[in-house]
Symmetry: C2
Subunit: 338 residues, 2 copies
């Protein structure tokens, strides 16, 4: 069983995934995964994954775990956390730990091995976001979970171990420190200003324009004012809501459109750019929050996290967000891209 | 001039190092630095670095910036921050920024290009730590600086851009968020227990033993209870003090000895392991603190920071610290190593 442990000084949780146990020699040569070869996420190979928990696109009479799907969600074969069991918490002297209860799922974004979010049609990206929402709603019913984090690792340098386009979801029994800090920071701002800080960011960025990459009627994509990586972008809904699960039909469409455009621009600016994106949303048990505002953060993986970053929580970026936004806006997209 | 910017939600500072400005195509192919070739840190090439700010080992009559040194400290040729100028802070709508005033120095640990901290004699490691202290004391005199962070990036995967063994120092006009969190966390513990949390960690770890890698009369090296990377180690002085600058002669010797042993063990367990280490110490202007305790944190760079880590501040580690400490203890070191 994996274990969750808390750093006693700063309160950061970590997962010790003992089942993936590594001995020193396992780390010696970081092997490049060969491209091509057998892909467990491709249609026809459904038997190689754990049984699916969701699939779209198949005719109703087709059996589960058969081809014909457009989006498919399966439990991770090598989960960081385990779904079975009661949650226990205990101390070990001054230290705190709990067992690694949680869900770890893989959202297979397309049946086509060579397609990515930047090349697939917008109506299929809509389905990926629907899958995020549906899984989040389903997992909310489990009283053991307090947060569901949805993220994507694209490219080996960004931590992807499989080439086939996929995102991941982890349901956690605790609220992550990073989210707690975001909630606290936006609450402090709200207490002082009686306005949502993200709503203010949207207003200021649209007025200023220098960090705006693109926008549509529901969303704006900006290069973050204080980025951790060059070309870091935030995709923020113009309409205030703290919870991604509140998203409606027309927002799904607009979200897929802006994601498609942002990723096409990034791909054109930096071919094969490795990146991570993460959905930031309120904890599962929170009611509607005036001070918090769901959004996506997209981080290209272009610089190293080294001693300075580990030690300080500071980041050094060689590209200003104004320059990055300028480069991304200047990209000429072919038909359907804008 | 570089710029410091603050994330308005979580309060994290970043440095926009515009002079290192990168356009999108600069990121396309992460080039491997060729080994060998011209090294600007080697003796005889002193003219290629900015003029030194400190050097040990040369006879008193020898001119500065000439060979014959054992440790040499020079300003970074491509600094993330600039030493000249007044500090200004200003707003940009709801955002906060300041100019990038600071010092960025390189501590060249050895004149020998092929030597590392794990292979060099202990008495020369002592000199490296003396250089850390002397530079920190000197920079403390500049009223613009509030924190000096000292760190090392070893190996390309850990962010080192030069092969020749060196550490770095950055003097900052603000206290980094990571240090503030550590100060707050240890203060909370102190307020509740009236004891230093690091002193309690030292006592508990020595009694338990399962995470202890090695110890001497002044220091203990443990695998961290909640590690961010496999084999993460903390090197903690047994005697309480909040400020590294308080270190005395016999502690210097013991610190060099335990570092040498820890790095030899890591090198033997995971050959050519890339790693970062960071000195954690109280801010420059703080008096002696009962609740804080200086120490080093050493992080091998063995797993990727990906979407989950960016989004949550959680880390997933496949090796438990008890297993890691066991592997490291089992290593048989040759003469002089223990």
């Amino acid at each position: 069983m994996p274990e969750l442990r808390k750093d006693p000084v700063v309160g950061r949780w970590v997962i010790i995934a003992k089942e993936r146990a590594k001995r020193p020699h396992d780390f010696i040569v970081p092997e490049e995964k060969t491209k091509g070869g057998f892909c467990p996420l491709c249609p026809g190979h459904e038997y190689t994954t754990p049984p699916e928990v969701l699939a779209y696109g198949r005719p109703p009479e087709a059996p589960p775990n058969s081809p014909g799907w457009t989006v498919r969600v399966v439990p991770n074969k090598f989960p960081a956390l385990r779904i079975e069991g009661e949650l226990w918490k205990e101390g070990e002297g001054l230290y705190d730990k709990m067992n690694g209860i949680g869900a770890h799922e893989v959202i297979i974004e397309t049946p086509n091995h060579h397609e990515t979010l930047s090349t697939m049609p917008v109506d299929r990206i809509v389905q990926v976001f629907w899958a995020y929402r549906d899984r989040m709603v389903d997992l909310s019913r489990d009283p053991r979970f307090r947060y569901v984090i949805i993220f994507k690792n694209h490219g080996r340098a960004a931590g992807a171990s499989l080439e086939h386009a996929h995102s991941q979801l982890i349901a956690l029994p605790v609220i992550p420190l990073r989210i707690t800090q975001e909630l606290q920071g936006s609450k402090m701002y709200y207490d002082y200003k009686e306005r949502c800080i993200f709503c203010d960011i949207v207003r200021q960025e649209l007025k200023d324009g220098s960090r705006v990459v693109c926008e549509n009627h529901e969303f704006v994509a900006i290069c973050a004012f204080a980025p951790r990586q060059p070309f870091e972008m935030w995709i923020i809904p113009k309409k205030h809501h703290s919870d991604f699960r509140s998203i409606d039909e027309s927002q799904f469409q607009a979200l897929a459109e802006i994601f498609s455009e942002v990723l096409k621009r990034l791909d054109a600016a930096i071919p094969r750019c490795p990146y991570n994106f993460v959905l930031h949303t309120a904890p599962l048990r929170e009611p509607y929050l005036e001070h918090y505002h769901w959004h996506f953060e997209l981080l290209p993986k272009l610089t190293q996290i080294a001693g300075f970053e580990w030690g300080t929580g500071f980041y050094i970026t060689p590209t200003s967000p104004e320059d990055a936004a300028h480069f991304l806006r200047e990209i000429k997209l072919s038909e359907g891209g804008q």
